[in-house]
């Protein structure tokens, strides 16, 4: 019988490893907010997300709550991909990491891009842009939490896209976190989205 030999050295070693890490509240927010929006995601759409979200530079100014919420959207959709086949307790189980490229339909749907917009007093927010033909019904955003930011995932082909947020069905606003788009046709507020190749 092997005994549990926790002597002074092992005790010290274990204690040096047991300091609880500083927890980034944003990380906790990401997960808990994920739970809130998770049920609104359709698994078929989510299938394209895995792998993409690990890319480091999703957008420019990526700070604070808004970015966290942006992460939530991709994070949740990524989860829909990985979660289905969870087999618990198999020592050697490795879940294949699917990428959008591995998904036959990904090329036609485009790359999933998380969108987030902070509008506390808004009653509704939708994303409109050339990736959804500026159709205000195509991409409604979901509020994260009780009075958190609005979030959604759009699917856009790699390259440059122009978009904006439509608040309460009437007011078009540019994304403050993305570069402004110059529009020679209509002018007005819109932003640029650079979508990476998956």
């Amino acid at each position: 019988m092997i005994t549990d030999e926790r002597d002074e050295v092992i005790d010290r070693a274990a204690r040096s490893l047991s300091a609880l890490p500083m927890v980034n509240p944003m990380a906790v927010l990401e997960i808990t907010a994920a739970a809130a929006v998770h049920r609104s995601m359709r698994p078929a759409r989510a299938r394209a997300v895995l792998g993409w979200f690990r890319r480091p530079s999703l957008s420019l100014a990526s700070t604070g709550l808004l970015m966290a919420a942006a992460l939530v959207v991709g994070f949740v959709t990524r989860a829909a991909l990985t979660g289905a086949a969870e087999t618990l307790g198999t020592q050697t189980s490795e879940h294949p990491v699917l990428t959008p490229a591995a998904d036959a339909g990904a090329a036609s749907r485009g790359v999933p891009v998380p969108m987030v917009y902070d509008a506390k007093n808004a009653r509704s927010v939708t994303v409109v842009g050339d990736f959804n033909s500026w159709d205000p019904a195509a991409t409604p955003m979901t509020r994260v939490g009780v009075d958190g930011p609005w979030a959604a995932t759009v699917f856009a082909k790699p390259g440059r896209h122009v978009y904006a947020f439509l608040v309460d069905g009437t007011t078009l606003v540019a994304d403050p976190r993305s570069p402004r788009a110059r529009d020679n046709d209509y002018g007005g507020d819109a932003s640029v989205l650079m979508v990476p190749t998956p």
């Binding site: 010290r12 204690r15 040096s16 890490p21 739970a35 994070f75 490795e94």
Partner: protein, 180 residues
């Protein structure tokens, strides 16, 4: 280690999102600690923990009413860590910018023993076979019983005891050398 009120996971299983939030807030620090110790990288650890919680969320319908939550959670987390560990090993020749090793940011508690000593523990930990490291961390850092570790890993008790013993032997031998 205190476990969460067993009613909370059951509420989460029934679809109560507040209960899920409670679980995340309760277990996140501990899960992150385990993942950091397992993977040696903050970035990988956060990824593992996030993935694990999402899988927990997805897998709640399969959480049995009579089961204990801790081993179930760590089972999912340990699986994620193994997967990410295997992936990292495949890519270990690549330098990933922005992915500082955990040792670069020493926790204040490490000062109790001196940063060098804590660093040495981590270095030795990295050299252990992953199954030994996992068993050691679950037993001596996460304070799980061997029965719970068996539930987490799916490995028999005697094999687990052997893994922990071997990890302890290696740590003891090398740490004693450092002290001399």
């Amino acid at each position: 280690m205190n476990e969460i009120d067993p009613a909370v996971p059951l509420r989460a299983r029934a679809g109560d999102e507040k209960a899920f939030i409670e679980i995340v807030e309760y277990y996140y620090p501990r899960c992150l600690r385990f993942a950091r110790n397992m993977l040696g990288s903050d970035q990988d650890a956060e990824e593992a923990v996030q993935d694990a919680f999402v899988r927990v969320f997805d897998s709640f319908p399969r959480f049995r009413e009579d089961a204990r939550f801790d081993p179930w959670l760590f089972r999912i987390l340990a699986n994620r860590c193994r997967t990410i560990h295997a992936r990292s090993r495949r890519h270990q020749s690549l330098i990933e910018y922005g992915d500082l090793p955990v040792s670069a940011a020493a926790a204040p508690e490490e000062e109790e023993f001196g940063a060098d000593w804590a660093e040495e523990v981590r270095v030795i930990l990295e050299t252990l076979p992953v199954e030994q490291k996992e068993a050691f961390l679950l037993r001596h850092v996460e304070d799980l019983s061997y029965e719970d570790i068996a539930a987490v890993t799916g490995v028999g008790l005697s094999a687990l005891r052997m893994r922990v013993k071997r990890a302890c032997d290696t740590l003891r031998a090398r740490l004693t050398k450092v002290e001399k």
